[in-house]
């Protein structure tokens, strides 16, 4: 209670203490400044404020108080002759006014209770407005009254604790609340108006506000206005994003339709060009003409490939592809792929290995052509982005039921890798990872086609990559079992090791252990009488032999040897030697059972490994496998 009349303040205290409606403690101050200091130090549920004090009088007392504590629950005490002042005080922000001498203890207690509850309700309303980002305002220009909720101030980027606008402030030409005045004017013809505006906040950001205002006519050209204001920035942004997204999708669809249409029209003449070129190639041509025609053929093939890709992605997007379900041999499929890819792999001297888990049946049911296409696209992609090292395809059973298998294919390469921020988008159509020092061929459709071919068969594809180190593309596809499903694909079992007995071939064995040398030599000679074995005691000896143009079909390489070990020797053959010898298959021979785990033998350019002590059949199978001479049927 801020009251300079000490006796009256004491009387109010006694009245409140006697009332059973309210239990409270009264803190008394006798000047406005003392009262403000007390309010700074302590929070009060209500403030009883006499407007006539030694250091401030009249309405100014309330204005000073509201300026400092606009949130507080203030009840003004006026004299009998100052009732109008009390009404004005309530309009300005006081919760209530009471006329001195016209209330008893219970009436004062009731008024205090109501004001406290009312203040609580207002606080909750303010809180709700803040959360919903909705403010409201009221304005009576004739009565020179204006009120705006705190959220209204905040929406205009003003701090309600710092500024408090009056009706006069509102009419100033540069008032931040000018939009409120404008919409108030717009309500006059119809009694209501609604509009969206954009303002710039102090931090330079755009804020979209929706204003709604109603006008109530209270006299000739006199109105009272009330309105609400809402922050719709997020909604507007999301609508703009949706519009942009819809437009982009529509544009992409049109682009693809146009491309598909053009490609379709181009395919017929392109087929004619390719066909005629083939006929030309089979005719008698001079060397120069042959070069020209070969150039036409290569370019036509590339162009036809692009056209086919575009047509296929279009068909996939419209789900027009019908998948077949026929029996085929997985081993044959992968061997064919290997043969098809060999020239491209050879251009970059890349090592390519396919590892089929032995417990996968050779004969499975599925769409062979589509699987070939998926693998062709993925392997082609891996070759494109791998300049040195190896590419490895591992296939294993991820799941088996009574009637089908889920096979997981993992294609690993030592290529340039994919940046983290691009990995999500690599399967999107026409996406190509750009690199300043690399020109990327193709349409950017290969991975997208593979993804759609996999997903439309109920499978899934994903990729992991480390920039500068390589990538692993994995996919899972379901294949059905066949009657011959029991027949395993185990390379130790089928196909049987077969090397043409009439074709002599040479194996170099790099091994320092004499017993192993003898065992390998005798074992190989017993299996293949036509084999020529060259023995080297360590890596340097092997290199010396190879440098003498000794032709070797395959190398069996011990890893731990004196002078130069197997890793260094393999790396030297791959990196330092020229011609076919640099591509000769190298099988590591090791006693380390965990060799396959770290892939070190691969990193040094070796194609496969054999565990020592070796099993003869395993040795034969691996040699046969890498000499790529499958058994004739």
């Amino acid at each position: 209670m801020i009251e300079d009349d000490v006796s009256y303040a004491r009387l109010i205290e006694i009245l409140l203490n006697e009332s059973s409606l309210l239990s409270c403690e009264v803190v008394k101050r006798h000047t406005l400044n003392a009262g403000l200091e007390a309010m700074e130090a302590e929070e009060f549920s209500a403030v009883l404020l006499d407007l006539t004090l030694p250091d401030s009088t009249g309405f100014e007392t309330l204005e000073t108080m509201l300026h400092r504590f606009s949130d507080h629950n203030i009840i003004v005490l006026t004299g009998r002759v100052d009732k109008e002042l009390g009404i004005k005080a309530v309009k300005a922000g006081a919760q209530d006014f009471m006329v001195k001498g016209e209330f008893d203890g219970d009436q004062l207690a009731k008024a205090l209770r109501y004001s406290i509850e009312r203040k609580n309700v207002l606080s909750r309303l303010e809180d709700a407005q803040r959360r919903a980002q909705i403010g409201h305002w009221e304005c009576d220009p004739a009565g020179r009254y204006f009120y705006a909720s705190k959220e209204t101030y905040r929406l205009f980027d003003l701090d309600p604790a710092e500024v408090h606008f009056t009706c006069e402030d509102l009419q100033a030409p540069d008032s931040p609340f000018a939009p409120l005045m404008e919409i108030e004017q717009e309500t006059k013809p119809n009694g209501a108006a609604k509009k969206d505006i954009t303002i710039q906040t102090n931090s330079g950001q755009k804020r979209c506000l929706s204003l709604q205002c109603q006008a109530e006519k209270i006299g000739e050209d006199q109105y009272v206005y009330s309105g609400i204001i809402q922050d719709i920035t997020e909604r507007m942004q999301s609508e703009e994003l949706k519009k942009a997204h819809d437009l982009a999708q529509q544009t992409a669809k049109i682009r693809e339709q146009v491309l598909a249409s053009v490609s379709h029209e181009m395919r017929t003449p392109m087929n004619a060009i390719v066909g005629m070129t083939n006929l030309l190639l089979s005719s008698s041509l001079s060397e120069e003409q042959l070069n020209f025609v070969n150039s036409i053929k290569q370019s036509s093939d590339v162009l036809l490939g692009i056209i086919n890709d575009i047509l296929q992605i279009s068909a996939l997007q419209n789900e027009l592809i019908v998948f077949k379900n026929k029996q085929f041999s997985l081993l044959e499929l992968t061997e064919q792929l290997k043969a098809v890819m060999r020239p491209k792999l050879g251009e970059k001297e890349l090592i390519f290995q396919i590892n089929l888990d032995p417990d996968i049946p050779d004969q499975i049911h599925g769409d062979q052509i589509r699987l070939s296409q998926i693998l062709f696209n993925l392997i082609g992609n891996a070759i494109k982005f791998t300049d040195q090292g190896f590419i490895e395809l591992n296939v294993r059973k991820a799941l088996e039921t009574d009637d089908h298998f889920l096979l997981q294919f993992d294609l690993k390469d030592t290529g340039i890798g994919i940046p983290d921020d691009k990995i999500e988008s690599i399967f999107e159509t026409f996406t190509r990872i750009s690199s300043k020092d690399r020109i990327t061929e193709g349409t950017g459709l290969g991975l997208s086609i593979a993804k759609k071919l996999i997903e439309q068969q109920g499978g899934r594809i994903w990729a992991k990559s480390e920039e500068g180190k390589g990538s692993v593309f994995s996919f899972e596809l379901k294949f059905f079992k066949t009657d011959q499903a029991a027949q395993p694909l185990n390379p130790q079992e089928t196909p049987q090791p077969y090397i043409d007995p009439d074709m002599p071939f040479t194996i170099m064995v790099v091994e320092d252990h004499q017993i192993n040398q003898m065992v390998i030599q005798k074992t190989l000679e017993k299996q293949w009488p036509n084999v020529n074995i060259i023995m080297a005691n360590h890596g340097d000896e092997a290199i010396e032999i190879l440098n003498k143009n000794q032709e070797v079909d395959i190398i069996l390489m011990d890893l731990l040897m004196p002078v130069r070990d197997g890793f260094e020797t393999a790396a030297y053959i791959r990196n330092e030697m020229d011609g076919e010898v640099a591509l000769v298959p190298i099988l590591a021979m090791t006693a380390h059972a965990h060799i396959s785990e770290d892939g070190k033998y691969h990193q040094y350019g070796m194609n496969d490994y054999i565990l020592k002590p070796f099993k003869p059949n395993e040795l034969f199978t691996k040699i046969t496998y890498h000499l790529a001479k499958p058994q004739p049927k």
Partner: protein, 115 residues
């Protein structure tokens, strides 16, 4: 003939129906095992860990022909420690066991060679 310390199934697989090869392999295994024990002891005494590693690694292939599980396990334990560069392991005790086992093994190999 059944032996207590040697099991020649792998050697027989490799030799197949070639008695000469079988005989040669037995001789080579016998010679290598005989030489290995003193070589290992010397390498340990000189703390020549790479040399010790090389001998133990080489023996891994040789022991496959002998077929003594205890000696194979012992060799593998030593090899693991040497590959991990754990030179604090008790190689002395291991080599004593090696020596202790290799005696009867060599004896049985000798018997097989004499047959």
């Amino acid at each position: 003939m059944t032996y207590q310390y040697i099991q020649l199934a792998y050697l027989d697989t490799i030799a197949g129906d070639d008695p000469q090869l079988r005989q040669t392999l037995l001789e080579m295994v016998q010679a290598e095992l005989s030489a290995a024990v003193p070589e290992m002891n010397q390498a340990l005494e000189d703390q020549q860990w790479e040399e010790l590693h090389s001998i133990v690694h080489k023996l891994k292939s040789t022991l496959a022909f002998i077929g003594n599980q205890e000696l194979t396990t012992l060799n593998q334990d030593m090899l693991s420690c040497l590959e991990e560069r754990n030179y604090e392991a008790d190689f002395g005790t291991w080599l004593s066991k090696y020596d202790h086992l290799s005696g009867p093994i060599r004896k049985e190999l000798q018997q097989e060679l004499a047959n």
